[in-house]
Symmetry: C2
Subunit: 204 residues, 2 copies
DNA sequence: TGGATATGACTCTTGGGTAAGTTACCACGG
DNA sequence: CCGTGGTAACTTACCCAAGAGTCATATCCA
């Protein structure tokens, strides 16, 4: 049988995998796991669906690979800032700034780890949870520090505040996604203005 | 042909519709539009799928009916508070308090209007947008007031801050959903403590 | 020539939606 | 007090499209 487009295109596996991951991450990050179809990723990459299955085994495998690629980057940056000596709001703002410059060209990455449509059981859930936990732990640590400054060490209060903090970051990322012209630097300046509007300009 | 379970069960349409809407709202609100299946709603209601289609035409029709039921309640409460004379943070906290007591027994309602898996085109999108806008407008109004107090009237700043504010409410609702034992009153006290941790106890 | 790169054309499952029929209730004429 | 027909409430069994996943095969290069 004649199969006009078959045969290698001379693209080595590693390169192809990288290209697929980039496209898949964008789709998963913007549309969510459930709404992303493997066929669509294949089409965007200019290749066929079976090749993706050949390299990544399943849709979940593909998602997991995206997580691994993005998660390392993200967690590393947050950990780097956590290792600094900034505390409280200051630390929060530094984290934000780090995120902005890190994710400027791939803002959708953040959403990968907070996608509500991702499967909630099975190996993916574990993988996603492991990264989300790693990020969440760091957030919680920062929040706990902040709260301790105000003599509040109630674990549930810290837990709620951490959720709120992650919600703030998430909503900022969402807003950024909808304002693509905004640079990381502009975004940071904006956040400082917002903070000032809340606290007055004493704190920075 | 014998159809052992067919025939009326003596439940009038209005009652049945109400029952279906309650169950559907919970499913849509907790699982999201995409992850909710009509068959599952039917099963939970102890009826068959076609009855739902008979009453609500389509899955989107069902969702729209849920929105109508929940949206009126939600927007009304926020409008009531907006009509008061509280300003800035104070208004925000009052809104929160209103939400908590209003949604204590149906916390999932909030998510109905901020479900990212809902269709983004078609009549539903319009309907959802109309309610979300109504809520968003009120939020933006409150935020704009707050920002004006700090001499910031930049529209993009207000837009970003509004998104953040909605993100905060959303994350609090999410946290509440995961802590079912927490009462509305406890939730409110917790929020006041969190606010105090941030601002010191001068402001209330 | 064998292994890596690739594909067209399937299968199978899930879930939205429908056709056609069944049962219970009720108003009304005898 | 009893048919009897109309309508509202309901179901089973199906259709169909979309999308995950697979198989057999084809091409290319070292």
């Amino acid at each position: 049988m004649v199969r006009p487009n078959a045969g290698t295109k001379g693209v080595p596996r590693v390169d192809r995998e990288g290209q697929i991951l980039e496209i898949a991450s964008e789709q998963f990050g913007t549309l969510g796991f459930a709404a992303t179809s493997v066929a669509a990723v294949a089409e965007k990459a200019g290749i066929s669906k079976p090749l993706i299955y050949n390299y990544f085994t399943s849709k979940e495998g593909l998602y997991e690979a995206c997580l691994d690629r993005g998660g390392a980057i993200l967690a590393e940056e947050i950990e780097r800032i956590a290792a600094g000596d900034a505390v409280g709001i200051e630390r929060g703002m530094q984290t934000l700034g780090g995120m902005f410059s890190l994710l400027e060209s791939q803002r959708y990455l953040w959403r990968l780890f907070f996608d509500t449509t991702a499967p909630s059981t099975g190996p993916i859930a574990d993988s996603i949870a492991s990264y989300a936990d790693r990020i969440g732990k760091l957030a919680e640590e920062g929040v706990a520090e902040l709260m301790a400054l105000a003599d509040n060490t109630d674990p549930l209060d810290v837990s709620a505040m951490t959720t709120v903090w992650l919600g703030i970051v998430d909503s900022l990322m969402g807003w950024w996604l909808e304002h693509p012209d905004e640079s990381a630097e502009e975004m940071m300046q904006r956040c400082i203005r917002l903070l000032t509007a809340l606290f007055g300009d004493t704190s920075l």
